[in-house]
């Protein structure tokens, strides 16, 4: 819990830097194609809010992130649990996973491009690929870390496999799954914006790129601020959710 003073101190450096930037853009950098005064950038951002396109584009990025993340989770959580439960399955899939995992998702983006063309599906598929592996690995680890005593209790109570999974394993791994979620939210957003910057003419990343291509530094900065804010908020929400789950699960008897 940060005190009020802590928050204020944290704002000092950014405010000083912004002030310097403001001064610089009024003097030395007045004709820059790259940087404008932060005040002008904020003004541009508010204008963009009123114009409306920014909402559609932000929505696109959030949609692809959300769908990609969900797709990854739906596939990776059960798989991870299965790998965690069965040492044999884990060993058998080891090589395949180790070969596919290091592929940077951005490298596969051109493939998705020719399969799906520009648009939503292309981005969702790559985000899903990027988020699949961390969720898989963390789910597997979470299952391996379930308290062995609890599993023994399940056996002693003559639970079948389904009951054991639902009553003991699933509740035990929920906190770690939310950690994976938090991580994946960050990954999803970064991958989404990256694809939009590199090749997909939709979403926030494209807003940034098209502003640069039309030599509109004010819009470019506005987009950067907005992307940073959206990223920060999303991560903060995911963190808060994860902490809340942590507390709930710990507190429950």
């Amino acid at each position: 819990m940060r005190s009020v003073f802590g928050v204020l101190k944290g704002l000092v450096l950014p405010l000083v830097l912004l002030l310097l930037l403001e001064l610089a853009t009024r003097t030395v950098l007045v004709h820059s194609d790259t940087i404008v005064s932060p005040i002008v950038a904020m003004g541009t951002l508010f204008k963009m809010f009123r114009d409306g396109a920014i909402w559609r584009m932000t929505g696109f990025t959030l949609a692809t992130s959300g769908l990609g993340l969900t797709l990854a989770a739906v596939l990776a959580v059960p798989s991870g649990i299965a790998l965690g439960l069965s040492a044999r399955a884990a060993a058998a899939s080891f090589l395949t996973i180790e070969v596919l995992r290091p592929l940077p998702s951005i490298a596969l983006a051109p493939l998705a491009l020719i399969v799906f063309g520009f648009g939503l599906r292309m981005e969702v598929s790559i985000i899903a690929f990027a988020c699949f592996w961390p969720i898989l690995v963390l789910s597997q680890a979470a299952v391996r870390q379930v308290e062995p005593r609890l599993l023994e209790v399940g056996l002693a109570l003559r639970f079948n496999a389904w009951d054991r999974a639902v009553k003991i394993i699933l509740p035990s791994i929920v906190p770690r799954l939310f950690v994976a979620l938090r991580l994946s939210v960050a990954i999803a957003l970064v991958v989404a914006v990256t694809i939009e910057v590199a090749m997909n003419p939709n979403g926030m990343g494209y807003g940034l790129v098209s502003a640069q291509q039309t030599l509109d530094p004010a819009s470019m900065m506005a987009w950067l601020i907005w992307i940073a804010v959206v990223g920060y908020l999303l991560n903060a929400m995911a963190s808060a959710l994860q902490r809340r789950i942590d507390r709930t699960v710990r507190v429950a008897p």
């Binding site: 802590g6 928050v7 101190k9 944290g10 704002l11 000092v12 450096l13 950014p14 194609d33 790259t34 940087i35 044999r88 060993a91 058998a92 899939s93 080891f94 090589l95 395949t96 070969v99 290091p102 592929l103 940077p104 951005i106 490298a107 596969l108 051109p110 493939l111 491009l113 020719i114 399969v115 960050a186 957003l189 970064v190 914006v193 990256t194 910057v197 590199a198 090749m199 990343g205 940034l208 790129v209 502003a211 640069q212 030599l215 530094p217 470019m220 950067l224 992307i227 940073a228 990223g231 920060y232 999303l234 991560n235």
Partner: protein, 262 residues
Amino acid sequence: MTLSGLEGPRAAGLVRHGGSVIVLGAVLTLWWFASHFGWVSKVFLPTPEAAVGSLLSGMSSTGGLGEDTWLTVQRMLIGWLIASLLGVGIGAVVGMSRRARVYVQPMLEFIRPLPASAVMPFAISAFGLNPSMVLFVVAFGAVWPVMLATAHGMASVEPQLKEVAAAMELGKPAFIWKIGLPNAAPDILAGMRLSLTVALIVSIVGEMLASQAGLGRAVLLAARSFQSSELFAGVVLIGAIGFASNLCLAAAERRLVRWKTI
């Protein structure tokens, strides 16, 4: 019934690894069938032989993939090294001083979620479409994981060790060099590993966006001309770079941080 010569734990290990190979083989076989029987169009899924063929011819002296690979690796490594030096330096200063952390940490937390690629349009605007621009963004993107890891590692020095250093009249620089940095070494190396991944990704993005020679551009061009086998060859090489660099760093980590696992 046991196969002669394969008994006990050795057999179990062999079976385990054998199983892994079999599964991978099954996946490759599936690929072979899918491409040969047209379950997936050859425009998207080349046959394994075609992909290998493109890879080999690309890597030969007449193909351009070798050159592309070298350029991408160069970009990645140089940007990563610059980022590591900067990151450790700044991170050490920030990590050492609690006061510095209070002022700097919130800003770092705000910058951390920002995709490095978002900086690329600014860099293009400022520097133009050239290799230095890409290098700049690579270094910029790769600096954060190392910096944050270093600051964290330095800040987590055992308080008792600070007293030990005080009792021995060790000055601040000596403390950072002999105690702070070695203590932070595991964190720093983990941060550097993350940075290397970022460096590779940003290199690829830079090559794609700014049309700079390298595997990123090669893969994008292959996609645009629907050359799926070339595309696959490029992707395999990118994956190989990621895999190999990670392997090397993990080995270095293990060597340098021997004392942690004893």
